[in-house]
Amino acid sequence: MTSWSLVLNSFRYYARSHIGTLLGVAVGAMVLVGALLVGESVRGSLRGMAEARLGKVELALPSNDRLFRAELAAQLQAYLGADTAALLQLPGVAKRPSGESRANNVVVMGVDDAFWKLALEQPKFTEIPEDSIVINERLAKQLNVEVGNSINLRVHNPSQLSRDAPMAPIEDSTASLAQMEVFAIVSDAQFGRFSLQASQVPPYNTFVPLSQLQDAIEKPGMANLMLAGKATKPSDDPLGQAQAALARHWQLADAQAQLLQLPGDKGIELRSPRVFIDPPLAKAALTVDTNASEVLTYFVNKIQIGERSTPYSMASALADFEPGTVWLNQWTADDLQAKVGDDVELSYYSVGTMRQLEERTGQFKVGGIIAMNDPRSDITLMPDFPGMTDSENCADWDTGFPMDLDAIRDKDEDYWDTYKGTPKAYISLATGQEIWSNRFGSLTAVRYAQNGSEAQDALGKQLLANITPTDAGLTFQPARSQAAASVNNAMDFGQLFMSFSFFLIAAAVMLISLLFQFTMEKRTRETGTLLAVGIPARRVRRMLLLEGGLIAIVGCIVGAVAGTFFAETLLNALSTNWKDAVASATLTYHSSSSAVGTGMSMGFFVALATIWWSLRKLKKQTARELLAGETQEQGNPKNTAKRSTIIGVVLILAALGSIGAVLADGGQMSPNSFYGAGAMLLLSGLALASARLKRLANAGALGQAESLSLRALGKRNAARRSRRSMATIGMLACGSFMIASIGVFQKDAETGADQPTSGTGGFELMGEASIAIVHDMNNPTNREDFYSIDEEALKDVSFVPFRLRDGDQANCLNLNLAQEPRLLGMRPETLAGRFSFIDTMDGLEPGDNPWSILESAREALKLPADVVPAIADQSVMMWALSGGDMMKSKKLGDTIDYTDEHGNPFKIQFVGQIADSIMQGNLIIPESDFIKRFPSESGYRVFLIDNPGERTDEVSDELNVALADHGFEWVSTTRRLGDLNAVQNTYLQTFQVLGGLGLLIGSLGLGVVVLRNVQERKSELALLRAVGFEKSAIKRFVLSEYLGLLVGGLLIGTMAAALAVLPTMLSPTADVPYSLLGATLGGVLLLAGVWTWIATNLSLRGNLLEGIQKD
């Protein structure tokens, strides 16, 4: 005989009594296990998606518009011993030739057989035949195509010379691949999901032969994305290993540079297909040979002396010339009848933001005339301007800006025929760099006074030794570890569902507590006996706790089994009714022993803690009391009733006072103040109910005797166990309050959508292009000239453009944690008065236009050069960048790490926070910083449209047609906001449903209380029967007193909730889910009523008089 055997005996003997407690534990464990399994399933599904999208890829080298040799991949493969593949990945638009369906934001990838080797599962083919296309399942569905159908593609043509740069052509900004026959539709595992960006939504992927895509954009042999699998050579630093391999094998062509032997042994020249030499490359070029000559050749609109002018000419800036002078070649001097000392005006275009051309002029004096046979009259000084160099005639030039073709004379055409782009004017290098430098560079060539192929090779090696691949924008990224980080730090749905299930768990805890207490109360004499025979009180409590532990273990096992079904039910709901909560991601059930184990452990500890809490009052009871079967409640009811009344009254006054103060102040009916007042009313109601019960329990016999009635007796009976009664009232009131008032947080995108300070910013449309727009869309001439837009349709319409650096969506529509969020570059004046600022960083003065802090922050906060200020949505900072973990939320002043186009790390610092808006998902930085960090990201891809005429459909239709080649996706701002709000609204709905379920289970508690109370009062009820009351009357009497508790609890909760949600209910666009609320509260009322009725009948069945006979 041991204490343990006594515990086991008790557990077995009282097994039936423990069933209720056990079920309570099982409900708690089921909820916890279920929630954790949902979390594990979401994580597992995201992990599966990440596996599918990356296949066997470990590292990736994306270079966007900076192209490198595709053969570099094969060279690295040999060196690293890893599978590698070179791709050409371009944004594009896909449509059926018939035009019946189209898809924007399509990712077009030129691939070869090496690519498919990196997929999780290799498709049956290895090569895609010419004129064929492979697409993924999502695109096939969107276009409604199958194998054998045809698709037309239009893709972005990456220009080495940025589209934002001066003289950048516009004609070849896109290329097309027509009548591509669908060769195969690949599954997710076959790289159908391939993407470097973490998202649960697969992109529209298309795959075409690499060589065909290279030919289509006229970049044979080039690629802009390299993938590498796991290296066979083990390394602690695979990223460093790959970067080292890159540095070993790369060539000048990969750095967008080339060395040319100039004709006539005039030296070797370094030039770039980007026209302007990247500053790091220029620096390296001058380091290699300090005697090298620098060249900056620019296109001038006009060389003018007085009334005479020469149109559209090349001009070079070289070190040989004096500042302030211009030397003309003989042809130009003749054309202008110029002589030394004449004043000359050079007109040229400078490209501003949104490719706004600004014609500027420079004043010079003629310093000399250069003969046409002078070595300085050099045809090779003109860089290879795409769209110009290969033109037959001046009239065919594609300079990217409007030209006055009438100004081109025959003699100008003759000059082009004879001398091509030989500069007509020469100025000093310093002056040239002062007026023509731009963010792309300040040199178009560097010349070395060396000749011959050996010298050329040596120079090439020296150049590569002085520049790193990172300088040229070639940096490997740890794709797999980034994917792992985004999944591992993704929104934890386990925690989310645990919080949604708060009331379910609370209901379970209440049931465990009530039922275990009741079981213990039945055994008070037994406990008293153990104490009386000298078993120490601590050991008695420990034995009872052990017995409770056994119940908890069995309950948790039952709960774990039920939890797996609960999880599957929740996942099913997340795939159907609650699909907005997971942005329509396809989730699959993932079993996890650790999730089950953790859920069971948590359930066990919750149950054990509750049981321990239930046992704590044993401490206060003596053996004598227990032997007498006493289970008295503690405390002086008189004092506590008084205290509760005071608290209740103070809270009511505070609730009314807070609303009165706001209204008297002429303030808005802020939802927060009403919610606070509602919460105070709830607590006040509970305090007053408690006071009432205690007062009834304490009612003096003399005072009550005169007014004694059966009804009064019933009320006093409800107060008999005031703590039990308050537990049920409290549960019902708090539950109904939370569930009814949570509706106040439902967000409606339509409310105030036309206000500039709303979440839509007062804009009507939001658009995102696959292929950037470089021109100012607010300029009607541009709209007509470049896009043939019907001006009438866009009358009074204004555009706010944003530059876009693609990255991970940092909003609630992305379940993964954004590693490098999307960046939007904008000019603060374009958003003046738009959206609502919640806060800005200390030290900044928002003034009339808080967006201006983006430009003032650098100086005001003395930001270091590697810090870029940013503004983001509250939800982005609070949730999206923290994976839903409040502890990791970003605050103003916090920074996140980012990498620029050249591979240089920099920090983005949050200096302002706006209320939730359509900008969610992006970090907004100043355009000036954007173009500095990402000079190759030309043009604008995101637009907000203000359309005062409310012709939203008409405008979007016109834009869809006119900008079709740019793959625009236009969406109304209210829909966009609605999509974002839908996630939060679905969370709230989920909370309401699970909370309602918890409340329904909690209502069981009322039944239990009735059952127990009536059991305790059996002799008293028997007395009523003995003195002549009908059994049915006694039933009614019992039922009415407990229904009073039920209705009281619900009334307190719903009245407080009504106050809390008053502003929302009064709002004309309120979207309060009355039906769901009505069904929930009605269901609770009905079910709790049924429990009470059943409990009353169960308690009063049989011969009541036996009770009194036994006594």
Binding site: T2, Y14, T529, V533, G534, P536, K638
Partner: protein
């Protein structure tokens, strides 16, 4: 010294009153003084509300006096902690209640052994043998594995008596031990108590309404309005 060794229990001016929040304190015991020698058998009788059970609870350290002193085997109980009192109850006192208070989940043998778990949660060596002997002695040797629900009221009360004896206490306190039994079982239990008092030399204090049972005790004290009214040999 020899006389002191003979004294098991000494009560000196013991008072007990119950406090109430809204009424005056209710006195129950008003200065009880009593000396009980080893091997004595005492009956305490009195009408309902006279304070019999309160006195017995105080004697058994289940309750504490408001004033006065209680010494058990020379040890002042008022100075002991709750844990020490539990130890005193376990080692020196055996309780027999009107209702047997057997644990329904335990067998007869286990019920008897329950007090032996107080020390370290395990019945000490020899306890089972002693329990069996005692149960044999009260005629329940054949009922060792039965549960209380399978026994008659008289049998249950005999098990409760054995449970009270298992730790060889110096004092047995019985509160209306025959109150829930029929005449025959009450007679039988009274025989058993007298026999144990005689053979085991255990001191016995019985609170009872039963004059028959009281008559079989060596001394009877009449409790009335919180004080001993008279003694009868």
């Amino acid at each position: 010294m020899a006389e002191d060794n003979a004294v098991v229990l000494r009560l000196d001016a013991v008072h007990k009153q119950y406090e109430s929040a809204d009424r005056d304190p209710v006195p129950v015991l008003k200065g009880i003084t009593l000396t009980v020698n080893r091997g004595e058998s005492i009956a305490i009788i009195g009408p309902s509300g006279s304070g019999k059970s309160t006195l017995l609870n105080i004697l058994g350290s289940l309750d504490s006096p408001t004033n006065g002193s209680i010494q058990l085997d020379g040890q002042e109980l008022a100075h002991l902690t709750e844990q020490d009192l539990a130890s005193v109850r376990n080692k020196k006192i055996g309780f027999i209640f009107q209702s047997h208070h057997l644990l329904p989940q335990c067998s007869v043998l286990e019920n008897v052994l329950v007090p032996t778990l107080a020390e370290n949660g395990k019945a000490p060596a020899g306890a089972v043998e002693r329990a069996k002997q005692l149960l044999d002695r009260v005629g329940l040797g054949h009922r060792l594995t039965h549960r209380p629900a399978q026994l008659s009221g008289g049998e249950c009360q005999r098990v409760a008596v054995v449970r009270a004896l298992i730790n060889q206490p110096s004092l047995i306190l019985a509160d209306e031990p025959t109150g829930a039994l029929d005449h025959s079982n009450a007679e039988s239990l009274a025989d058993l108590l007298v026999e144990l008092n005689r053979d085991e030399k255990v001191t016995l204090i019985v609170v009872t309404h039963s004059t028959d049972l009281a008559a079989r005790m060596g001394t009877t004290h009449q409790l009335q309005d919180g004080t001993f009214a008279s003694n009868a040999a």
